[in-house]
Symmetry: C2
């Protein structure tokens, strides 16, 4: 076990606070009444690049040596980490090559290109992104920026938890429950570490799409277990084969369990979030809200923090929901 | 001229601060780069009831005498003031009757009913809402809550400006320009009064839809001038025949002019705000952003505050854009 702690997150916050946006923490009357709870939504869909991923990417990339920056970067991502690495690289004029699945949302591919990264599309049915990444890493001598299995990335994502705790402190509120989406587990590892430090009694839950509940199953079995093949989900941002080697031990320590939501439930939540919170949320970014809205966990009379992790959904897709 | 000043707004803020949400002030990298400016958006679409209108309605209604509250209220509104009066009345168990046009967005009519108000639909082509309102006021002895021509309403709306100035102070930022939608002029009268007090050099502009630029024309002529008949606009929230008797003298003192935007430009802005800010904005709530995004005013190198006043748009309508 590493000595990763809230201190890594405080340090990361000092490192990124001038580059990133402090995103709002909002509550909504309609939803509070609906759930008979007090729910605070952390709006990382309003973060630069449209997701929390810029926190980790900025924390990681800003700490690279001059020599590493000159060598250029490579990353693989379904899209949010892609945009984040591209954006953070652009700020420092670093060359970035990003490997993305050819079925990624258009908005994610286009934005990554807009941030001047070179995008390499692969076929997720036939190719393995980690292998393409490693090949480029070796051949071109680039630095691989992993999407979650890196303590600097985890600490960066954790800064969202730091901001949550500061906003809650201003409101003199202590949360009971934290619901967060979980793909590779970087965001929830970082944020739950910080929230657990501030609120030792908080219960944090990883929310995953049906068929991709690897973290839930791994938490139950107290070891890393991969998803079974053959499933698909609209939650493109959090479709990962198994928990990370670094994120899982952290999550095993801080989380109280996992919650599974289905695509149809997520679609419905996206509509509710649009109608009542007036925000645009992508499917992967809406799973934590979905867990709350479908009563998969009893929130009655509780104070709950819900992570809205991203908003990068194609508008025509959004409209079709 | 009245003695309406920033002091009314500070008093209103003390009155409503525990009931209302403090809405976020956000900036967006993409838009800042696009306009070569630093733009801060005040998200009143995230306010309870989906618009700023609850500020004024709460400030007004909470100050009514017990006897007046027992008599019940009546209000006319295209929808946002309707929801606000209904919501504020519901909090204090006051009977409310709301007169709404039969072509108002469904979401506005439904929410007003959800807040337990009695809704009376009228035909805006044939009937005049003020007359229906006055009739009910007299016949049923109810208290009329005007949408803008009331100092308590104006002061309530102004609290959005108070919050803006506090957030800007935390960022050590002094704004150069303020862009705000304008229907009857209550929101801009209140907020521009407060911003002018805090930033004497700020230039504030009323943004109106084409055909409804009564405030712009009235400012030029230094007297109240009505719109010519025969126009229509998708900006249902800010379609008013002429500036208010109380709001106009305030606006004449604080505003630097008016800007006109067209429906097609507004539609395009709504898309940009959805794609890049990840927020849902109704047409009337998007006109100030439209003025910025269409370069109707030179914002280069300026620090600009843009009011996003509401988000109550039917989702099917939003999707069709």
């Amino acid at each position: 076990m590493s000595d990763f702690s809230y201190l890594n997150i405080q340090k990361a916050y000092e490192n990124i606070k001038h580059t990133l946006d402090k995103t709002p923490l909002i509550t909504n009357d309609y939803i509070n009444q609906l759930l008979d709870a007090k729910v605070y939504f952390k709006l990382e869909n309003l973060q630069k690049t449209g997701s929390f991923k810029l926190r980790g990417a900025t924390n990681k990339i800003s700490q690279l040596s001059k020599e590493h920056k000159l060598r250029g970067l490579v990353a693989y991502s379904s899209g949010n980490h892609a945009q984040a690495v591209a954006y953070a690289s652009l700020q420092e004029n670093i060359s970035a090559k990003i490997i993305m699945p050819n079925n990624a949302p258009k908005i994610k591919i286009e934005n990554t290109k807009k941030y001047k990264a070179e995008v390499i599309l692969y076929d997720p049915q036939k190719e393995i992104r980690e292998e393409i990444g490693k090949e480029i890493e070796k051949k071109e001598n680039r630095i691989l920026i992993k999407p979650y299995d890196d303590y600097d990335i985890i600490a960066g994502q954790g800064t969202a938890g730091y901001e949550i705790s500061r906003d809650l402190a201003n409101l003199s509120i202590t949360p009971d429950i934290y619901l967060c989406c979980c793909g590779g587990g970087g965001l929830i590892a970082g944020t739950s570490t910080y929230l657990k430090y501030k609120y030792p009694n908080i219960k944090s839950f990883a929310v995953e799409p049906y068929g991709f509940e690897d973290t839930k199953i791994s938490l139950i079995n107290k070891k890393i277990i991969s998803n079974k093949p053959g499933f698909s989900s609209i939650c493109d941002a959090i479709i990962t084969p198994q928990p990370g080697q670094l994120t899982f031990p952290i999550n095993l320590k801080t989380l109280s369990g996992g919650i599974v939501v289905e695509d149809n439930e997520v679609k419905n939540s996206i509509k509710i979030l649009a109608e009542h919170l007036k925000i645009i949320v992508e499917p992967g970014g809406a799973v934590a809200a979905t867990a709350a809205l479908t009563n998969k966990i009893n929130l009655k009379n509780k104070t709950v923090v819900v992570m809205i992790s991203g908003g990068n959904i194609d508008l025509d897709r959004f409209s079709s929901l």
